[in-house]
Symmetry: C2
Subunit: 272 residues, 2 copies
């Protein structure tokens, strides 16, 4: 059963034992990295990509640990077997410091109602810049506050806007926008290199949609230069945005949903 | 004995039980605030100031919790009594979210060798800006990385330099520098409002040293415009800097040590 067990540094433990001391410096400082992975039909989707990114996140913040990707892959497999997991979301949470702790945790697969894809979801904008954009770390207060602000105002996601007025990414997603048939997204160095972002770009190519790596200016968005927006994440694939702050972007989301369907179909294919 | 017990939401627990679930969102996102307090002769120094700042940190990040300062003060007293604490460092660690968790933890008092005060300590500079400078939160990756970099190069502290070249503060301290007999430190809004920083400014007034709230430009420091530097923190009072990066600031540290002695004497006085 999902959530019965967890893994700590390779050892199977009960999920209730997946705790950390409040006195641990890596815990107090958020000196940690993480990954969220979809498990579909017992298969962890794009696992090697996630483990590569985990390693890059560690390198980016100087988090030294003794765990190889091959080891972690085996441990993920062991947890899937131990709890007889078919569909789930798995989180790898790695704390650094003198005694690195790598947890693998499974929970019910994070999914969203079909209605979200049909009607789109709302987003707000929030000013702020992540410390090291390319790394998935525990330094997430900005993301927490931005999303809390969005939720309070009845929205699904917050879009982070940098000092230059660029919309870079969501708090847990990458951001894409169509303009004159071209799909825009921020440059690699500016944002988290989403595993699903890569799949979205691959799907766009398949659908003959040109992609330009150039962050959307928030004033251009509100000036009406873009006509279809979506966010991407492991849990969402591609999720259409029906509005940003006060501005509506309602539509059929034809291109977004075509991209979403392709991305999801590849997950299935990988699992077979 | 220090470190036998801890307090969680008012209940005395064994220190080993002071753990948090890895799955807790506030833990994962660093949605937390904290304070470090010196206990001298069984008396928690400037406790009401620390509790006021804790509350301001919570307000600054929207962390809602049900604990009053009066309650927390009682719990600190209960921990001091339970473990018969004379001298110690107490940490209050508060996680937000749906189920706020407030821990009070005691450890051996953090002190530094007398030699550090006589000879001064080394610091490096590190480019980076804290997210919400006035709040003490769990969003500390920058501080962790900057200090790790300083330690690796044999230094005691890293000084954080913002995009404008201003030296704002250390990773766990405030920063002060003398120029033509005047003491410079960054403006209130730019840095953590250190409890000890306030005492340093009070001591400077007592010693007839004028204080100017203006951050030191890193190029002015290296151009030799400043002749005595120190950092302040609860654990350090005022600690002289003997060098920054390659540049030496050796001296007798007469003014710094006079400030330090005054700050420490007031702690004792408060305890009596």
């Amino acid at each position: 059963m999902i959530g019965m067990h967890a893994v700590l540094n390779g050892a199977l433990i009960s999920a209730a034992e997946a705790t950390v001391p409040v006195t641990d410096r890596a815990v107090q400082y958020g000196f940690s990295t993480y990954e969220s992975i979809r498990v579909v039909g017992g298969h962890p989707v794009h696992l090697s990509d996630h483990l590569l990114r985990l390693q890059k996140s560690c390198e980016g913040i100087g988090l030294v640990h003794p765990f190889s990707s091959a080891q972690i892959e085996r441990w993920v497999g062991a947890l899937i077997a131990a709890d007889a997991i078919s569909d789930a979301t798995i989180r790898i949470q790695l704390y650094g410091g003198d005694h690195p702790m790598l947890f693998i945790l499974a929970s019910a697969m994070l999914t969203y109602p079909e209605q979200y894809y049909r009607d789109g979801v709302g987003a707000t904008t929030y000013r702020g810049e992540r410390l090291i954009p390319s790394c998935k770390t525990g330094n997430l207060l900005l993301n927490y506050m931005a999303l809390a602000d969005a939720n309070r105002r009845g929205n699904f996601e917050a879009l982070l806007v940098d000092r230059h007025g660029h919309i870079l990414e969501g708090t847990r997603s990458n951001f894409f926008a169509f303009r004159d048939g071209v799909l825009y997204t921020a440059r690699d160095g500016e944002v988290l290199l989403g595993i699903t972002r890569e799949q979205v770009i691959r799907a766009a190519a398949k659908l003959s949609i040109p992609v330009v790596y150039e962050a959307v200016q928030v004033e251009d968005l509100f000036a009406g230069l873009y006509d279809e927006l979506f966010i991407s994440a492991t849990s969402m694939a591609a999720m259409p945005l029906s509005r940003v702050d006060g501005m509506s972007f309602l539509g059929s989301y034809r291109r977004t949903l075509a991209i979403k369907d392709l991305v999801r179909s590849w997950e299935m294919g990988e699992g077979q």
